[in-house]
């Protein structure tokens, strides 16, 4: 299965992936409507300092501890993609407690959000990957 991989060697720390993520998941057709004057809350987030930076988003682990730990049964694996059912989530933060990557966070509605590889939007290719100007975020199959 294709997953998102990042290479800090190429990351510029420009944060564009965060904006593309927020736009892709906004459900809006215009980037301006989606992002202008809003504090974005993307599912991919840049970490780093002046020298090193890299993007972190869900790894879609083959044996995901978040799915095993979810108290609501809201997290599940669909065709390899770790998905969240926001209708079932109660925002208890147990997934935040267990995710070793820090890749699940509260959405603006209070329940949790995470990267779902843009399966519902952005034409099936993650928006962060499409938007990265330096190919530091790659969508491919790796062993």
């Amino acid at each position: 299965m294709k997953r998102v991989y990042v290479d800090e060697k190429w990351c510029l720390g420009c944060h564009l992936c965060e904006y593309y993520c927020a736009f892709a998941n906004s459900g809006k057709s215009s980037m301006i409507k989606a992002l202008k004057d809003r504090k974005i809350n993307p599912r991919i987030q840049i970490e780093g300092d002046n020298h090193i930076s890299f993007a972190v988003s869900c790894r879609h682990c083959t044996d995901p501890i978040c799915v095993k730990s979810c108290i609501a049964g809201a997290l599940s694996i669909k065709d390899g993609v770790v998905c969240i059912d926001k209708n079932k989530c109660v925002g208890c933060h147990t997934c935040v407690l267990v995710c070793p990557y820090g890749a699940i966070m509260p959405s603006d509605e209070g329940v949790m959000q995470k990267c779902e590889l843009c399966i519902e939007n952005a034409d099936g290719k993650p928006a962060c990957v499409q938007g990265c100007p330096n190919k530091a975020i790659i969508f491919e199959e790796r062993e």
Binding site: R59, K68, G73, H93, T94, G102
Partner: protein, 410 residues
């Protein structure tokens, strides 16, 4: 004769079904539960009363789960006896089921301490099951003055769940602080102050000396009038089936890292069983949902002839009250790093080059990075300790460790 019999229908039992099916697609599974409900998320009962979920959404697995997993579910019938020599389970109906492998996932039951005059209280409830929650709900009115005995996880989640539906909530606990099982004194003070700000009243270091109808006399001399009583002082693992069958029980059912009890072909998982807590280096009952799932899944894999071992159990909790989030994990032992800013609080415990435990209140973002350091026993000398104290972040790892985390399939 069923290949697999599972007693229980909550997290550990469901983990076991999924563990079995990861190895054996066809072997017959019979699941027996004293509760009549489709599998539901037990910790969600407070959210149910709060209106944040409903019975449909709090189902732990979809309606088609038993059919999809080819499980024969006998719901609403209690297992009364295990015969480990004959390898049978007897049900209250008199029916006997033979098994090749058995999982006991009976959970725990509320502990009700002897309290003078308790029988004179008309509206007294416990708070463990969906039926408990519905019964409590039926007794509540906007005028209800609710008295909760127990300022632990169950008592306070109950308090949060019903706070908007009642006139007042008073909590009594013999401990001198709230949530003593997961918080230190500073953390307890923050949470208590937060709950008091939301209108709750606490009588700590105190107990009920006697009840008389709607009146409670506390040991300290305080007299309280109430309409509804909730008893949430603690739970006891349900171990009688294994004990009476001759299996070893301690604080919980003795089970090893593979889920095996001391009885042949009998496994145990979840709140009824002990785990080996690697952060404390001892066996203990870790009555928390992720642990139940992982124990149950491990047992299921082994029951089906696979090989699995649950090697890194630790206490860990994510809980929140009135918008204030709390995440804790591990054992509070060793040197400490602390930071406090209003309701935001962090304390890390470290010893022998390992992170042993932590408490985060308020800002809990990315706490799982800390949890993983404990569970994987990462030497602190291999990471940037100053950065990890500042906040949970992958920047604290070396570049090559990060490459493993972010550039490889996990």
């Amino acid at each position: 004769m069923a290949k697999y019999v599972i007693i229980g229908n909550s997290t550990a039992a469901i983990g076991c079904v999924e563990g079995i099916r990861s190895v054996d697609a066809d072997g017959e599974i019979v699941l027996v539960s004293s509760e009549k409900h489709h599998t539901y998320s037990r910790p969600l009962i407070s959210y149910l009363l709060e209106g944040k979920t409903d019975e449909e959404r709090m189902k732990y697995r979809p309606d088609s789960f038993y059919a999809d997993q080819r499980v024969t579910a006998k719901l609403g019938v209690e297992a009364t006896k295990v015969d480990a020599e004959e390898k049978t389970v007897t049900l209250e109906s008199g029916e006997t089921i033979s098994y090749e492998k058995l999982l006991v996932a009976t959970g725990s039951t509320p502990f009700i301490p002897p309290m003078q005059g308790l029988e004179t209280v008309k509206k007294a409830f416990t708070f463990m099951s969906l039926d408990d929650a519905r019964a409590l709900e039926g007794a509540l009115t906007p005028e209800s003055r609710v008295l909760i005995i127990g300022a632990g996880l169950i008592g306070l989640k109950c308090a949060e769940g019903i706070a908007e539906r009642v006139q007042s909530i008073t909590v009594v606990d013999m401990a001198d602080r709230v949530l003593p099982s997961i918080l230190d004194e500073t953390g307890s003070d923050i949470v208590r102050a937060h709950l008091e700000k939301h209108g709750m009243t606490f009588y700590l270091n105190d107990t009920v000396a006697s009840f008389d109808g709607n009146h409670a006399a506390l040991k300290s001399g305080t007299a309280l009038d109430f309409d509804v009583l909730v008893i949430a002082v603690g739970v006891r693992p349900a171990m009688s089936l294994v004990k009476e069958a001759g299996g070893e029980v301690r604080r919980g059912i003795a089970a090893d890292n593979t889920g095996r009890t001391t009885l042949p072909d009998v496994f145990a998982a979840g709140d009824c069983a002990e785990s080996f807590d690697i952060s404390a280096g001892m066996n203990r009952v870790l009555a928390l949902l992720p642990n139940a799932y992982m124990q149950g899944h491990t047992a299921g894999v082994n029951m089906a002839g696979g090989t699995a071992s649950f090697e890194n159990a630790i206490p860990m909790n994510a809980i929140g009250f009135m918008g204030l989030h709390i995440i804790t994990a591990g054992t509070y032992d060793g040197e400490t790093y602390t930071a406090k800013d209003g309701e935001n609080y962090k304390i890390l415990f470290y010893k022998d080059d390992l992170l042993k435990g932590y408490i985060l209140i308020g800002n809990v973002a990315r706490a799982g990075i800390y949890t993983a350091l404990i569970r994987s026993r990462t030497p602190l000398s291999s990471i940037d300790f100053d950065l990890i104290c500042e906040k949970p972040q992958l920047m604290a790892f070396t570049s090559s460790a990060r490459r493993d985390l972010l550039s490889r399939k996990q």
